[in-house]
Every structure is written in C-alpha cells, then in structure tokens.
Amino acid sequence: MVREKIFQKKSQTFSADLFVVVIVILIGVLFLVINKINTNEVVNTEEIEKEAEKEADLIFKTFEEKNILNENGDLDIISIKNLDYEKLKEDLNIKGDFAIVLEKDGKLVKFSPNEDQTCFGSDKIIVNGKPCKT
C-alpha cells in the first residue's frame, strides 16, 4: 500500500516536469517562428524598395539617353506622352506597374494645357481620382 503511493507520486512529478519542458520548448519555437517571419518581412520590404529604386533609376536613365530629360534637367513631356507604356516596361524588364506624375509645391501639374492628362503609366495607379492613361 505504502509502496503503491510512493510510485504514484513519482509518476505525477515526472509528468508535470515533462509538461513544463514541452511548454517552454513550444514557446521557444513560437518565438523563433515569429522572429523568422519578421526578418523575412523586413528583408522583403527592403528588397522590394531596392528593386523599385533600381527600376526608377532605369527609367530616369532611359529618359536621359533618349534626351527626354536633358543634361540641364529640361523635361520633354511630349516624348513621354508618345511612349508606348507596355513596350517601355518590357524593354526595361520592369516587373511591376508604374506611373509618372509631375508635381509642383504639392500640387498636380498637367501634361499639357489643353488636355486633362496628368500622368503616364498603368491604369492601376489613380491620380486625383482618375486612372492613369498610357
């Protein structure tokens, strides 16, 4: 009788210890997973930004090569209007969609006085309520 009680007590102590260990391991794993996800997100955002920066630089460089943007910084907007958006995207191997917009002191600048065009690029990007025209 006494022997049975001692055995039962030992068994209870053993399962409680095991339970605590399992919980600690699970919490540890959880932290590791969360940390990993966060790191991936930071890496992804940084990568996306870097890629976007490269693509924007490529567009600016192409404009300079085509003399759409000359060395004085003068912009030839008519040449931009005459570009084929899809072709430009394909030629420059740009994966995402993009749009080019002009701004002065926070205000929108139109592409020409007699037209309402305010941007060049993808219609997924909406400028002042209107989808961008390619």
């Binding site: 996306i48 912009l75 993009f98 205000k107 600048v109 990007i125 002042n128 309520g129």
Partner: protein, 307 residues
C-alpha cells in the same frame, strides 16, 4: 507719449478705412419682388427660367411699349428685378439711361448695356446702330470705381459675375439675359457671355508704387497706370491681385502679375493637391522622384512603382 497714442489711433483708423474698402464688393441678385431700400434696380427681366431673358430698363418702360408689340406688352411680364448693392452701407450704386452717343459722365460710371429704344426688350453689350440707348452704372463713393468687364473668366481676378447674356450676334436669341449659373435654354451655351463687376480703388485714392502696387495693400491696380507709365499695360486680370501671382490670361495661358507683364506659362499648373491611390492588386506603392524643369519651372517628376 500722447503723440505716440495719437499716431497709433491714426494707423488704426487708416487700417479700418482701407480694410473696409479693400473688402468692398458689388452684390447682385434676380428677385421676384422689387429691390429693397439699399439696392438699386438695374432692369427687369422676363422669365429667364424658361429660356427667356428679354429685358426692359425698369417696369415703367412697359408704359412706353407700343401696344402693337403685343408679345412685349403683357402686364407683369417682366417679373424679375435685377437688383444690385454694395456692402458699404449707405454708399450705393447709381444707374442712368442715356443716349448712346453721350458719356456716362458721373463718378467714372461705365456703360453696361445698350438697348434698342426700349421697344423690343433685347439688349446688346456693344454699341450698335439700332441700340441707341445705354445704361450707365457708377458707384456713389469717392474712393471707389465700379469696373465692368465682359466675357472670359475673371473670377481669379476678384471680379464677380453679375449676370450672363446671350450672343448678341445670334439673331433670334440675341441680347437675352440670365443668371450666372444658367443651365437652361435650348442650348447649354445660350447665355455664353458673362458680365463681371468689381469695385476698385479710385485712381486718386491710390498710393501707387512704380511696380504698380498700392502701398497700402500691396496689390496691383490698373488705375496706377494714371500715375506711372510702367503701369499702363497692366493686364486687366491682374487688377487687384497680389504682385507675382499667376492668373488666367486666356484659354491656354496664365500671366504673372509683375512688370513687364509678359511672363506667360501654359495652364498646366493646377491648384489641386496631388493625390495618388492604387487599385487593390497593388500591395506596395513605392515613390521615387527627381527634380526637373518643365515649362521653365522647377517641378518634381515622380515615379510611382506598384510592387
């Protein structure tokens, strides 16, 4: 100390006087009832809500209309009163009907409309042979003049729309009058010319600088042309505008209100704040920008990339 206080009081007095004047404006309205005591009746109009707009100079003119012209002699036909006032209290506007060969001749009053001897109730905004009467409008204030302009959009220059008038050359619908927001009529542009009015400082009252601005409020005044020769070419759209401001010049261009009055730019610089949004299938919108020169102005070329 006493002198200082007196000086302060004088400054405050001058500010109040000229502050009041700079906010002076002409206010006009088409009414169904006669004009109130602080208003002046310019003319009566017939049923413009139904695309009419025939005008008589005042209701008494009906008595002079030939009974043979039955269309124009219907009693109470001209039931809209075009009443105007200024916001300067007792000071008010004056109207006078004269022969079109005469000058208005009082308080620099301007000719507003020409009438064809009051019998056919049509008007003109330019002198024409068969429009031999003209209505002069002036302001009863020695520091102010009423400046009237025709056509275009002068709202940026501080002018107020008084009324609209149909194309005087369009036979059949010539010289019909309607309110500023007229949208009715058989064609949407029937009343296509806007008549604008603005109270401006009298030339004698202006303290003009040689850049055509008034020393008291820093605004450009056309009337400074009477004082400085450089100001004789001030565009009318710059009248009453702060120096250096861009205002509408014509359909395609804006002009910079600054001597020598020949700096233009195309109407590409809007007053709307830039606001860019994306459709749902674009998770990240990344912006890169570069300073460029466009229409001789420094602007930012922004590239929005959807990732």
């Amino acid at each position: 100390m006493k002198k200082f206080v007196l000086f302060l009081v004088m400054i405050i007095f001058v500010n109040i006087c000229f502050g009041g004047l700079s906010g002076a404006e002409i206010i006009c309205d088409f009414k169904y009832s006669s004009c109130s005591s602080n208003e002046v009746l310019f003319f009566n109009v017939y049923d413009f809500n139904n695309g009419g707009g025939d005008v008589v100079i005042n209701s008494n003119v009906l008595l002079n209309i030939d009974a043979n012209y039955s269309y124009f002699s219907i009693p109470n036909k001209y039931d809209r009163y075009f009443c105007c006032r200024t916001n300067l209290g007792a000071d008010n506007l004056r109207v006078k009907l004269i022969n079109s060969t005469e000058d208005c001749g009082f308080d620099s009053g301007q000719k507003l409309l020409w009438f064809s001897n009051t019998i056919n109730a049509r008007t003109s905004i330019v002198p024409e042979t068969h429009y031999n009467k003209t209505l002069c409008v002036g302001v009863n204030n020695e520091n102010l003049d009423l400046d009237l302009k025709k056509g275009g959009d002068l709202s940026d220059a501080g002018y107020k729309c008084l009324f609209r008038i149909s194309d005087t050359e369009n036979v059949g619908y010539n010289g019909l009058i309607s309110e500023c927001n007229a949208t009715f009529g058989p064609t949407s542009d029937r009343y296509k010319t806007v008549i604008w009015g603005k109270l401006i400082r009298n030339a004698n009252d202006l303290k003009c600088s040689n850049d055509c601005t008034n020393k008291l409020d820093g605004r450009i005044y056309l009337s400074c042309g009477k004082v400085f020769i450089e100001c004789k070419d001030v565009p009318s759209n710059c009248d009453g505008i702060l120096k250096g401001t861009w205002v509408s010049y014509n359909f395609t261009h804006e002009i910079k209100c600054e001597f020598p009055w020949n700096t233009f730019r195309p109407k590409v610089f809007t007053g709307s704040s830039l606001n860019v949004e994306v459709k749902k299938d674009c998770d990240n919108l990344i912006i890169r920008e570069k300073n460029v020169i466009y229409q001789n102005q420094n602007v930012k070329m922004k590239i929005y990339i959807c990732k």
